[in-house]
Symmetry: C2
Subunit: 248 residues, 2 copies
Amino acid sequence: MPQHPADTTAETPIFRQIVDHLRDRVLKGELTAHTPLPSERSLAESFDVSRMTARRALEALDAEGLSYREDRKGRFVSPKRIIYNISDMVSFAAKAQARGDALEIELVSQGTIPADARLARALELPEATALHRYTRLFRTEGHAAFIETEYVLASRFPDLLTHDLRQSSTRLLEQHYGISPRTGDITIRMRAMQPDEASLLGLAPYHPGIALEQVIRDGDGSAFCFGSQIWRGELAEFSAQAIVGEPV
Amino acid sequence: MPQHPADTTAETPIFRQIVDHLRDRVLKGELTAHTPLPSERSLAESFDVSRMTARRALEALDAEGLSYREDRKGRFVSPKRIIYNISDMVSFAAKAQARGDALEIELVSQGTIPADARLARALELPEATALHRYTRLFRTEGHAAFIETEYVLASRFPDLLTHDLRQSSTRLLEQHYGISPRTGDITIRMRAMQPDEASLLGLAPYHPGIALEQVIRDGDGSAFCFGSQIWRGELAEFSAQAIVGEPV
DNA sequence: GAATCTATCTGGTATATACCAGACTCGTTT
DNA sequence: AAACGAGTCTGGTATATACCAGATAGATTC
């Protein structure tokens, strides 16, 4: 006998009833961050539905950002979101580390490449200009949060890749190259992760994500760095303060 | 005989091969904005897979933001994203309309309510303060893009709801109440749509979305408006310019 | 010409089943 | 104590099937 009989006569689909039930439990705090959710099979049994129906309910929870799944390990309740203040921009890592937040940075890969059409356009450079490229994985409290790939002008920072890249790149560029105050153009959009990105973060392919791209400029307004981040969608929260001038 | 035989011996799952195939066709421009994608059944037939497998491929495309589906109508190629500049903030509608973009606003519902705990906190007001609430649906070129609900201080704008709300609320507040320059706090996060939101936008439940919340303040820094938007994830792109002071 | 009917298209929901592969636990062996 | 292995847990992939309900287009009827 099912522990939670689903109301098949109601017009609301069974799997949504299960979604609502689970959402309640999460929001009431009955299930806390990183706690395992019921597995697909056990959920199916307790609601007396097929595994596929239970799965659909859990996938909806994933989409809502209330849970995430790790390959062949299970589903877990999402932790509180990480607030990324856009005005802090590049110095996110520096700020987080200064606050004492456990922010670990792992270098995934690095190299020097010629700028392709997209990078050349973003950085306002001729194509094939040499760029240092490094990809890093950012973790908070042991949980992977986002991947960042930065491209910086090789001519301006020739020996960049010889430094320890497991630190705030803002601080790196400051300490070794004395960069002055800068501006940045940022764009944010939703985009599911590609299988390779998801696997780096230990997540299922097509995990919902948020992509953040930024072009960083020096005091003279010339671009020297292009950064591309892909965040776990359920983990990211972007904040900004806008000051609006008198509209004409 | 399948038109596109899937390679079952390869280590990459069949449905991902289909995703890659479809993504190619979309990115190559073979399928243009709002063009119907192959239906689940026809895709299943042409790749000689079950409908469920075809469906998984199409759902992955949805998650990537390359397609969207309308209930019982079909799946369609996503149009170009709408760029929302955070610095323009509240005046998005005004700007779009000034540019001549076809931005239609439909009033969904309105009323006056007491502030609940969440609203009171956001607006820094005592609970139960009277607020005007109105929900509007924004369309570009006939396609629903996002829903916005705004809450404004009823005491300060007593007869707000008697005006035509199918226009930029920035302009409304300016023309009738003479609001001076203002600042705004914005937060952005990924969140699947609730079934009711999705149905308003003509989309499937749990459609990936991006929520944007903003608190708008007058020249004195006192909050007078709280706005909450839910965008179709595949349609939204947020841009911002940040100016970073010299870090200590 | 307008309204209606109908066949067929679409996705939506749901079940039952099968096998795979990685992760994990626990007991046994070395 | 460390290494190994078996059994069992997890989600991942895939098939086949069934019926529902809204959308749509075309033919028929009024």
